[in-house]
Amino acid sequence: MALSVDQCDALLNILDLQSVRNFTLEALCNDIHKKFEARDFFKVGTCIVMLLQNNLLPEPEQRLVAFTLLYELYRGEPLANTPFASVFIHLLHPPEHQSNVGAPKLEYPGQLPRLFPQEKHFLTQLMSDVSKDSFMKKTAVQVINADPPQHSPTDFSMIQLLLAEKQSELPQTCKTGIPVIVSLPEKGSNSYTTDAGSDDALIKKLATGDDAPMNKVYKPEFVTLAPPLLNCQDELVWLNPTTPKEHYPVYDSSMCVPDIAGYEARQLMNKAYKSALSIPQQQQLLTELENDSKLVYHIGLTPSKLPDLVENNPLIAIEVLLKLMQSKQITEYFSVLVNMEMSLHSMEVVNRLTTTVDLPTEFVHLYISNCISTCETIKDRYMQNRLVRLVCVFLQSLIRNKIINVQELFIEVQAFCIEFSRIREAAALFRLLKQLESGELGLVSSPPLPKT
């Protein structure tokens, strides 16, 4: 983002004292357009400003050309929009110092040279709307030596205002940079002994290269502390023996060992899925289950077969489920039970279960909801009445046995009672609910059953 050495040379050639003295301003401007492309204009401008700031253009003619070139770079555009507008304003109105400590401000970082009246006049003309032909055809020397014209104050306050507005939009941090190049004349050195050659070298050092000092600024810098390492407990892995040898494949020792008891039980179960068993058959099955606590797992019952069993042999289903209460599969059986088609038998099974063991509340609630919705959707009027009566009796039993907490289902059950109020049992259930509500039965006030 800086000039190349060749470009720098080209610029310095244009600004060279010889060329400045010999060519007209117009010729020099054309030269710039010939040697630089529009995309490099900003770099050229930056370099010119740097030269001005650091007093590296000692002769007034050179400065004059520098101003002209700086203006020329962005000639077509409104002055306030060009990047170097503030430079012109600063040159015309050097900030005068409201110094905080009373002493006059002598220098400030990036200070621009103070101008002679002729220079100021020239600059004013350059910036105002008047025709520039009068001086562009002249050389810089001619311009300077021309008679100082009568003072014609020009008002740039519009531009100043625009610039100030632009500035105020910038965050403070953007406005704090100072150039990193600081003039530091050596002690006791004689002035004006420098030769141009060493100046060129100096300028090239400042203005060229990838990180040219002219592009850099120093801004007040924060101290940003890096965070400490997280300090925590028991982070590293401590290794303890895990005895991987513990876990080995196992041999199935039941290979070719016919399971006689299981076989007979299974045969009975197979019948039980299809039709009701006779009393002796039931007895036999139940006794066998009683005798061998693990047999229940070997009778071939799976959750998907449960509905058939419930429909055909509710008594067996109840016993089997009670035996499976400890099994990890019991939730799956429950889930089947709750979702199966509602019937007298399924209700009987659920009723027996509720009075014998603790069923999960969600399960009971889900079952009741299912019952109610079945009653509501069934088409056959006769069946509907039958089912409603059943559900009502079932619910009464649940309530009286304190198996459900009515309050949790109150609205649903009440709506159900009202919908079927033509049926005697529903009316009875409704009365029971009302009694509960009024506290007559003292059931409502009692806390819901503790789930032991």
Binding site: V237, P249, C256
Partner: protein, 684 residues
């Protein structure tokens, strides 16, 4: 459909000829005697039972054992083939008879360290634990327990242990809670407990101890371990006891116990694990805890060498040749994790980064590990905060020209925290850069475990029968480390946010930086150090956002009253023994005054930016007076002095010239002295 049809058709009544029965008996007997060849012969004679799942299964098992348990891959293939043939599917397992083959598959997966896959199978298999005969039930339970320990789920493991104990002692047939609802409380008659064998009881105790250790229930663990310690030759007990002592902070005792373990107590080729590796590793862990990370690294490297040695010497012959129990024996990833953390603490962030990147491939759901990787990146970027406090700093980059044209080129920045890069390189390249750190921290933040009180969602009660819902991915955990408790999670979250704020600030993303810093300040609790940093980062971000007034509030030294690394102590209700395993924290600035100086300095910067140069310069003078051997001041202070003086136009260039050009040894000091003189002159 096919399996449906098969199910409806009742299995043929088991017609087993007497001859077949005898063959099976013989096969079993030979298997028990470990005559696998003879066993196989018997099984092969049962070939006309080609439709018998158990025959096919046992044949595969016997073949596997005949190969000295080395042909694991073949075994696995055989089992899969049998499952396909007999339509056994884990997700629809509803027959006890299929549980053995499934269990065997889970065993293999466990040894291959595919714990999630193993767990999925075991979830189903465990449902049939009641019908299983006792020895199988034991095997199944133990694997289930071990898997829970692999997942660092001590509560679940303890539930399983309890269940197993009950099941074994009471036969599992007694409903745990059963009473007659009619009111008659049916007293459950527990049969007299069946005593477990002493050996098995010890085995269970070992599992329990591992749970307690993961849980950090140190008191219980300490009591229980004494039972095992009665047997002085119990290697497991010694390791566990050393672990407990280490957690309690008794490092000497811990080292003593470790050293008492004979060198080759557990040989890798016999046990599938090596006590030597454990010893080196655990010694490393102890040294890390007492703040000797370099020594710790040494131990970890020894352990790694041993691990690579053992595992590679065996893998040369190909995976097929390794017996099952050695498959998962390598502790490479855990060791790399430990080594990485220790290297980081030993200020070797680049090496640490390489180790942790290896570890994270396995433990990619570990929030803290991602955070550690980010810390490596940060440390590579800025080794220590002390660089900002060094006496000597190059204020001047170059001096060009001579005589009256002499130009001094000042530095643009003294510290190199900020790195606003416009390179289009992807952030995701795993190199220790700030860009990569920002990705790591994003991962870390997403993976912070939920605080301990919010329990994980319970399994849904009602399932579609016979179909297991797809297992959810394992929850974020601290694996391979033990789980974090609530306070540690808070600390971790704060640390991640702070690191993320720092990285964002350095990368120029100050809006995000402010968000993170503010989140720490708004959080329920944060350590003093984290609050200090949050204030500093918030202030810097706010200034960059041109909200200087807000920023100055953050920089008030009153905001920070002490400099502790711990969360403000709450009334700890738990009577848990305090863990003492953290290395002593190290950080610069290490005292409150230094920390305040940094706040003040940044305050001076804020004022300078706002144009209040005289106030800023007063603050700088105040800081300068505070400096001492205890309280070091940032080296930026000199540069800010120069800046302010340049802005005020007061600088005496000749004086600076003198000091800057000659005083390279002690530029700052002389310069400042000069300034003080100048200031006095001006104020008087």
């Amino acid at each position: 459909m096919a399996d449906k049809a098969e199910k409806d058709q009742e299995k043929p009544p088991e017609i087993v000829s007497d001859q077949e029965k005898d063959l099976a008996q013989n096969a079993l007997a030979e298997f028990k005697k470990k005559n696998y060849a003879a066993c196989l012969q018997c099984i092969n004679k049962l070939e006309n039972r080609s439709n018998d799942l158990r025959v096919a299964h046992n044949k595969a098992v016997a073949e596997f054992f005949k190969s000295d348990c080395k042909k694991t891959e073949q075994f696995q293939k055989n089992l899969t083939a049998i499952c396909n043939q007999f339509l056994v599917r884990a997700e629809k397992l509803d027959d006890v008879e299929h549980s053995i083959i499934q269990f065997n598959q889970a065993v293999i997966l466990y040894h291959q360290k595919q714990y999630t896959a193993a767990q999925r199978i075991m979830d189903r298999v465990c449902k049939f634990i009641e019908p299983m005969e006792e020895s199988l039930a034991k095997q199944v339970s133990l694997l289930a327990i071990e898997l829970q320990l692999c997942f660092r789920e001590p509560e679940k493991a303890l539930t399983l242990i309890n269940y197993l104990e009950n099941n074994l002692m009471y036969g599992g047939s007694i409903p745990l809670k059963s009473f007659d609802k009619a009111g008659k409380e049916k007293k459950v008659q527990l049969p007299p407990p069946k005593p477990l064998s002493e050996e098995f009881e010890k085995k269970l105790l070992r599992y329990k101890l591992r749970c307690y250790i993961i849980n950090h229930s140190l008191n219980t663990a300490f009591k229980e371990v004494q039972v095992l310690m009665k047997d002085k030759s119990n290697i497991d007990a010694l390791f566990l006891a050393a672990n407990i002592e280490y957690l309690k902070g008794n490092v000497r005792e811990s080292m003593k116990i470790l050293s008492s373990i004979p060198n080759d107590a557990l040989r890798f080729s016999d046990c599938g694990e090596s006590s030597t590796i454990m010893f080196y590793n655990n010694m490393g862990v102890i040294h890390h805890a007492i703040g000797k990370p370099n020594l710790a690294c040494h131990y970890f490297q020894m352990a790694l060498k041993e691990d690579i040695n053992l595992c590679q010497s065996n893998s040369k012959k190909g995976n097929e040749e390794k017996p099952l129990h050695m498959l998962g024996g390598s502790r490479y990833h855990e060791l790399m994790y430990n080594l990485g953390i220790s290297l980081l603490h030993a200020h070797k962030p680049v090496q640490a980064f390489d180790c942790l990147i290896v570890a994270v491939r396995r433990y990619h759901r570990n929030s803290r590990l991602w955070m550690r990787i980010a810390e490596c990146c940060i440390m590579v970027h800025k080794e220590s905060n002390e660089v900002d406090f060094e006496k000597q700093k190059n204020l001047i980059v170059d001096i060009v020209g001579t005589k009256d044209k002499q130009k001094v080129i000042l530095t643009t920045n003294l510290s190199s925290d900020k790195k606003y890069s416009s390179e289009s390189q992807s952030y995701a390249v795993p190199v220790p850069s700030l860009e990569f750190a920002s990705l790591c921290l994003r991962n870390a933040l997403l993976l912070v475990p939920p605080s301990s009180d919010s329990a994980s969602t319970p399994d849904p009660l009602f399932l579609i029968p016979g179909v297991t819902p797809p297992a959810p991915p394992p929850p974020p955990s601290a694996s391979p480390s033990n789980p974090l408790d609530g306070r540690e999670v808070t600390q971790l979250r704060n640390a991640i946010l702070i690191a993320a704020a720092y990285v964002s600030l350095c990368l120029g993303d100050y809006v995000i930086a402010l968000e993170h810093a503010q989140e720490v300040l708004d959080g329920e609790s944060a350590s003093d150090v984290h609050r200090l940093l949050a204030h500093l980062y918030a202030a810097e971000a706010l200034i960059l956002m041109d909200k200087i007034t807000d920023a100055i509030e953050h920089l008030n030294p009153e905001n920070i009253k002490s400099l502790s690394f711990d969360l403000p102590s709450t009334l700890d209700k738990s009577e848990k023994v305090q863990l003492r395993t953290n290395p002593p924290p190290k950080w610069f600035p290490n005292n409150l005054t230094s920390a305040h100086v940094v706040m003040q300095y940044n305050m001076a910067v804020a004022k300078t930016i706002r144009g209040q140069l005289d106030q800023a310069s007063a603050i700088l003078k105040q800081i300068w007076q505070q400096r001492s051997s205890v309280c070091r001041v940032p080296s930026h202070i000199v540069m800010l002095f120069i800046y302010i003086e340049l802005q005020l136009g007061l600088i005496d260039f000749q004086v600076i010239n003198f000091f800057l050009l000659t005083g390279h040894t002690d530029v700052a000091k002389n310069l400042i002295r000069q300034y003080s003189v100048q200031q006095q002159r001006l104020t008087s």
